[in-house]
């Protein structure tokens, strides 16, 4: 194991869609399934799979409820999710710095 930033990346978070979900949930505090599906341009099934991975890892919580007669699913970032997102962003920045500095 070396100190290369790539070694600090978390497989659960280091993925385009899952990083997107965490980013949106962090900025919005709480985000609805439909908003995530539209902004990430995913199918409902695909989004559900990624949410399942994040929920299993304890990075998000999923709450189902109703707004009037409409069923709605809300996704909220957990404390661990916030920390994982912060760690991923700083690792990405380090990685880019290394690449630009020719250290990769």
């Amino acid at each position: 194991m070396t100190g290369h930033p790539a070694n600090g990346l978390d497989d659960v978070v280091h993925q385009r869609v899952r990083l997107g979900i965490l980013t949106v949930a962090h900025e919005a505090r709480q985000v609805e399934f439909g908003y995530l599906r539209d902004s990430l341009e995913l199918t409902a099934g695909n989004l559900s799979q990624h949410l399942g991975v994040l929920e299993k890892a304890g990075l998000v919580t999923i709450d189902k409820g109703y707004a009037g007669k409409r069923a709605r699913t809300w996704v909220t970032l957990t404390k661990a999710g916030r920390a994982a997102l912060r760690a991923e962003i700083s690792q990405l920045k380090l990685l880019i710095e290394q690449i630009e500095g020719g250290g990769a």
Partner: protein
């Protein structure tokens, strides 16, 4: 660490760029700057009949530099704290309803709490100012003329401007910072510098400040509405 295929989806530059784009997208969808501006404009215009129908108190004294007159309306002291608290309740309700409709959370609570706190401070400051007319020669805590500044800060315009600054920070909105700073500067401007002053003994002495302040907020609200409307449609 597992071995992973470094596909285009895991390119660090692309991941970071996507993350920043999504952050901007969420912030744009959360913003509804026009609404608080239009509410504050309405509250400012609605103060005109309250001021006009209320009892005026004019205090004039002679100082070495000339004559200083202070005019205030008693209902104004009651109107602003109540009107501002109601305005924040309406604004918070609007943001929450909008967030629910759009499917994204909102950061309106720090703004509403700061706004209500400012309204309470304003009530205390206005009460103090009513008993301490501006006096350029008077010292408070070693500061000469502090009563002049404190009297200016005690007016409702300062509370609205400071609350707009809080909103600008909550929304991370650079354009609103400019509007809020401009509005605070306008609110702190002495009446004689507004370019339209009525004599303190006139029953309409308050009109220039309320009309100009309300108009500034109205124009800013309409401009934000015009600029934020296409984004709202795009984000919906």
């Amino acid at each position: 660490m597992t071995t992973r295929a470094a596909g285009a989806d895991e390119n660090p530059r692309r991941l970071l760029a996507d993350s920043r784009r999504l952050t901007r997208q969420v912030r744009a969808a959360q913003r509804a700057t026009w609404f608080p501006l239009l509410v504050f404009s309405a509250v400012t215009f609605a103060a005109i009949p309250v001021y006009r129908l209320g009892r005026h108190t004019v205090t004039c004294r002679t100082v070495p530099q000339g004559r200083i007159c202070t005019a205030y309306t008693t209902p104004g002291l009651v109107y602003w704290p109540i009107a501002l608290v109601l305005a924040y309740v309406v604004i918070a309700g609007f943001y929450l309803r909008r967030a629910r409709d759009r499917g994204i959370g909102t950061r309106v609570f720090p703004y509403a709490v700061a706004g209500i706190a400012l309204a309470v401070v304003l009530f205390g400051a206005a009460f103090w100012a009513a008993h301490n007319p501006p006096d350029p020669g008077r010292f408070i805590l070693g500061v000469r003329g502090a009563t002049v500044l404190l009297n200016q800060l005690a007016i409702a315009g300062s509370a609205i401007g400071l609350a707009l600054l809080v909103l600008a920070l909550v929304e991370r909105n650079g354009a609103l910072v400019t509007v809020a700073v401009g509005y605070v500067a306008f609110a702190l401007l002495p009446a004689r510098d507004l370019g339209w002053v009525l004599a303190p003994v006139s029953p309409w002495f308050f009109l220039p400040r309320l009309l100009l302040g309300g108009a500034l907020l109205l124009v800013a609200g309409l401009l934000f509405a015009a600029f934020q409307r296409p984004r709202r449609r795009g984000a919906a």
